[in-house]
Amino acid sequence: MRRNRRLAAFSSLFLLLAACAENAPQDTLEPKGPVARQIDNLIDPVFAVAGVVLVLVLGLVLVAIVKFRAKPDSPEPEQIHGNTRLEVGWTLAPALILLAVAVPTIATIFDLAKKPDNAVNITVIGHQFWWEYRYDDLGVVTANELRMPVGRPVQLTLNSDDVIHSFWIAPLAGKQDVVPGRNNTMSFSADAPGEYLGQCTEFCGASHANMRAKAIAMLPADFDAWVAGQRAGAVAAAPGTAGEAGSLLFAQKGCGGCHTVAGVSEGVLGPNLTHFATRTSFAGSIFDNNDANLRRWLRDPQGEKPGNKMIIPGPPLTPDEITELIAYLNTLR
């Protein structure tokens, strides 16, 4: 008996608890953009209706348990076989409720499928286990972090280089699967500047958990400045510095076979590193971009991120080599 009451409270608390959680950056019930908000506005009343139905059902069960519990003097019950009117009633009532849910749902489906005007077009390519973003109209290629201006929607065209992934920035929009051989699309925008987190949500192999995503919304002027910076060529390291030694090592170790650095190498298996130092995170956004994390990563990429495609040929890098490479990467502004 008590369990049912507690249960009803427990279930209706789910929403409350989920909504009130502190520091849950991927919370779907805390929309930070118009698309996510439209979804949230659609589902909130449905949760409420579902909650009412749940309380009704649990309440009826509870009443039945209390009221019709066998007592020593209970007579044998009347053998009721059914009641057509009631049964028709509770066939029609849920059907009507569901109809009331279906109509706005379908309207929203079509609404969200519309392509916005004046959007920033970005091609998103899923790789095991990182994201590539190509701003073809702007001549920018970057990885892991989707940069977008505030107040202007982005229109994404998504496809995959290998297996199926699913692109998701939880506070901004729902998921869109990234299917090799198909060009799926989605669009969304952000209310305010800031970092919005998400991750790959279609199981894509060993390091599926390590394929995170981040969108960084910027004021339009900042976005334009960022684009200008990304369009510039790579800066060569100053002669005689550790950075220069690192650039030689970069060539010697064959890093350029997989990584593009504009004017230096043309590899395409791994992320384009031309402006690596301007990124806030790396390796599928599992690491913040700082020297300590880079050191961890370069020491043992397979240990840090099992199954990823970064294989450093030859013997493991020495600490000095790593220091030089980090110095080089830091010059790639």
């Binding site: 950056p25 439209q38 019709f68």
Partner: protein, 683 residues
């Protein structure tokens, strides 16, 4: 499990074989006992017990895997399991619980009970029945052998291409061929049970008098019959891609990976109803018995089950709302997903109405049945929210989905199956399970279940994705994951209590035919039942046949115990005492005119022999060939594969030549024997 089945009287020794079909071992007979007796049995009850026992062992393995997963996810950045190990474990957890636990547990119960509930002595194809079990066991062992042969499947139970096409090693091959083997088991089982229910009902057991568990199992078997071929096709395509480099799922050659998803979910969604319908049937049997009222709205329950069966084929793409199907297709599947909730909702309200105005008692089966109704309601409601597609694009592939289907498959199917286990255990084992331990089991499981899976709703809405072996700090997921991990160990504890309960109550006692004062035919025969189930094939005059033999109704429609419980009515029909009040219009015992058409034919039989089919080792021998073929295929050792094929073909040939009843096997009793000799002789 120590369940003793009655054996034939020693006095009737077997005679010498008269002729010899293909054989390399002496054919077992009804007198064969011990391990060889179990291995060669064609008795649907023994096979049902073997299904259930095997599935229970797989349940423990799948549960252990779940505990490993929960240990890894108990805190952020945990390193208890490595990434690939985690992926193997979650793949096998899902595959095990679906294909090796819930399906065979339902198959086990159906095997044991369906023939008895419809008044038959065995299933239509007893040797195929045994074959189905051995193939199931072979498939399960085959798939689990992968753990020792290079690694278990690691592509998820849904096996999406192109990932599963590309993954190196043989992990995925074990999954593909294992599921193919299990599919054969399911298909043969489905055909057997369908034919049994359609053809072997006792006289008077019209379709609309069948117990609701029989109905729901029948619908589930039809779903299996049509769903298994779909996944078989998909798996064949995938295995050809992997073994022979065909291009069914090769994107570079122009294939569309969504083909796999359509095929998989066209199987996968009916599969969900295959898993839940039998449990719905169990609960629909248990609630009336402990409410002392008939099931409310029997017809509606039957038709809503059938409706679910049909509608279940029209919702598969709701697993694919994020794949980019386009707004028109998505809208159609959104609507169908919502409206399949209607027949489900009707069932829930009818269950509550069954309780309403009843005289409720709460032994363990009833607790689990009520647990089912409440937990399944939560799962059903969260299911409706998936139909709201824009919201589903936020929920899909998060723990919200994991919460949903655990409320359906654990809070639903498993609670239903546990209800059935406690309810029918006295019939299977001849002894009640302990009520005190049963209640401890229920409450621990109920609390542990909600502790484990309730927080998944929150985690999912907070954006925690499924199938991740690790998660970072600072996402707000730490606390609820820890709660869930603790809850999973409470569930494990409850299972331990259940095992202790069964262990303590393994030896049969005198429990009587009908310990629950129940309503259906299985309670008219001894516990455990004799090999032939019914001394005389029963004549069925009403739905809830046993209840109407025991009770009549007064003018207010209340049950009144008859002074003398009616015995077996005579076959001719004319002497059958009407059940219920004179000229009763009560819908569940209207006599259909054609019901007794077969009565005359059956009439003579019970006075003569009861011919039970003889045991046979050919089903087991044939089944062994399937993993042999599969190993040969996986390792491209064609000689082994061909050998396995020859093995299967040869065994089938020998099987085909083997008479159903061995000439040396004598009937259960001779023509002159009086009825008393039929009584079961417990060992």
């Amino acid at each position: 499990m120590a369940i003793v089945t009655p054996q034939r009287p020693e006095a009737l020794a077997p005679e010498q074989p008269l002729n010899t079909p293909v054989r390399f071992l002496r054919r077992p007979t009804g007198y064969t006992k011990g391990l060889w007796g179990w291995m060669t049995t064609v008795d649907h009850k023994k096979i049902g017990i073997m299904y259930s026992a095997t599935a229970f062992i797989f349940f423990l393995i799948g549960g252990l895997e779940a505990l490993l997963l929960r240990l890894q996810l108990g805190g952020p950045d945990n390193t208890f399991l490595r990434a690939d190990t985690y992926n193997q474990v979650f793949t096998m957890h899902g595959t095990t619980m679906i294909f090796l636990v819930i399906m065979p547990l339902s198959a086990g119960l159906a095997n044991y009970l369906l023939p008895i509930m419809i008044g038959a002595r065995d299933v239509a194809f007893p040797r195929i029945n045994a074959f189905g079990y051995w193939v199931f066991l072979a498939g399960g062992l085959f798939m689990y052998s992968s753990f020792f042969l290079g690694g278990a499947p690691n592509g998820g139970w849904f096996g999406y291409v192109p990932l599963t096409r590309n993954l190196p090693g043989h992990n995925i091959d074990y999954w593909v061929f294992g599921l193919q083997i299990l599919g054969i088991a399911s298909l043969t089982g489905a055909i057997n049970l369908i034919v049994t229910v359609i053809n072997m009902r006792a006289p008077g057991m019209s379709l609309m008098r069948m117990p609701i568990f029989v109905w729901m199992s029948l619908v589930a078997q039809f779903l299996l019959l049509f769903a298994i071929p779909v996944i078989t096709v998909a798996l064949f395509l995938l295995s050809f891609d992997r073994l022979f480099s065909t291009n069914f799922f090769n994107v570079a050659a122009g294939s569309d990976p969504l083909l796999w998803q359509h095929l998989f979910w066209m199987f996968g969604h009916p599969e969900v109803y295959i898993l839940i319908l039998p449990a719905m049937g169990i609960v629909s049997e248990v609630l009336p018995v402990f409410s002392r009222k008939p099931l409310f709205g029997y017809q509606v329950m039957v038709f809503s089950g059938i409706a679910i069966g049909f509608m279940g084929w029209g919702v598969w793409a709701h697993h694919m709302f994020a794949t980019g199907l386009g707004p028109v297709a998505v809208s159609a599947f959104s609507a169908s997903t919502m409206f399949i909730a209607v027949p489900t909702g009707v069932k829930i309200f009818n269950w509550i109405s069954t309780l309403w105005k009843g005289k409720l008692t709460f032994p363990t089966p009833m607790l689990f049945a009520i647990g089912f109704v409440t937990m399944f309601t939560i799962g059903g409601l969260s299911g409706v929210t998936h139909g709201v597609v824009p919201a589903d694009t936020q929920q899909t592939d998060t723990y919200y989905i994991v919460a949903h289907f655990h409320y359906v498959l654990f809070g639903g199917s498993m609670f239903g199956l546990f209800s059935g286990a406690y309810y029918w255990y006295p019939k299977f084992a001849g002894r009640m399970l302990d009520e005190r331990l049963g209640k401890i089991h229920f409450w621990l499981m109920f609390i542990g279940f909600n502790m484990t899976f309730g927080p998944f709703h929150i985690l999912g809405l907070q954006g925690m994705p499924r199938r991740v072996y690790t998660y970072p700090e600072g996402r707000g997921w730490d606390v609820w994951n820890l709660v869930s991990t603790i809850g999973s160990f409470v569930i494990a504890l409850s299972i331990l209590v259940f095992i202790i309960n069964m262990w303590k109550n393994r030896k049969p006692q005198e429990v009587g035919d009908d310990p629950w004062d129940a309503r259906t035919l299985e309670w008219t025969i001894p516990s455990p039942p004799p090999e032939y189930n019914f001394k005389e094939i029963p004549l069925v005059t009403s739905r809830d046949e046993l209840w109407h033999r025991k009770y009549t109704e007064d003018e207010d429609g209340r049950s009144v115990r008859r002074e003398v419980t009616l015995g077996q009515p005579h076959m001719a029909g004319t002497e059958v005492e009407p059940t219920g009040p004179e000229g009763s219009e009560s819908p569940d015992h209207v006599q259909a005119p054609g019901d007794h058409a077969d009565g005359g034919e059956e009439n003579g039989e019970h006075e003569e022999h009861i011919h039970m089919p003889s045991p046979s080792y050919w089903p087991l021998v044939t089944a062994i060939g399937l993993p042999i073929v599969s190993y040969g295929m996986i390792y491209k050792t064609w000689a082994v594969a061909i050998m396995g094929g020859v093995w299967i073909f040869g065994s089938l040939y020998a099987w085909a030549l083997e008479p159903a009843t061995a000439p040396e096997d004598t009937p259960v009793h001779g023509p002159d024997t009086s009825g008393e000799d039929l009584e079961a002789v417990p060992a």
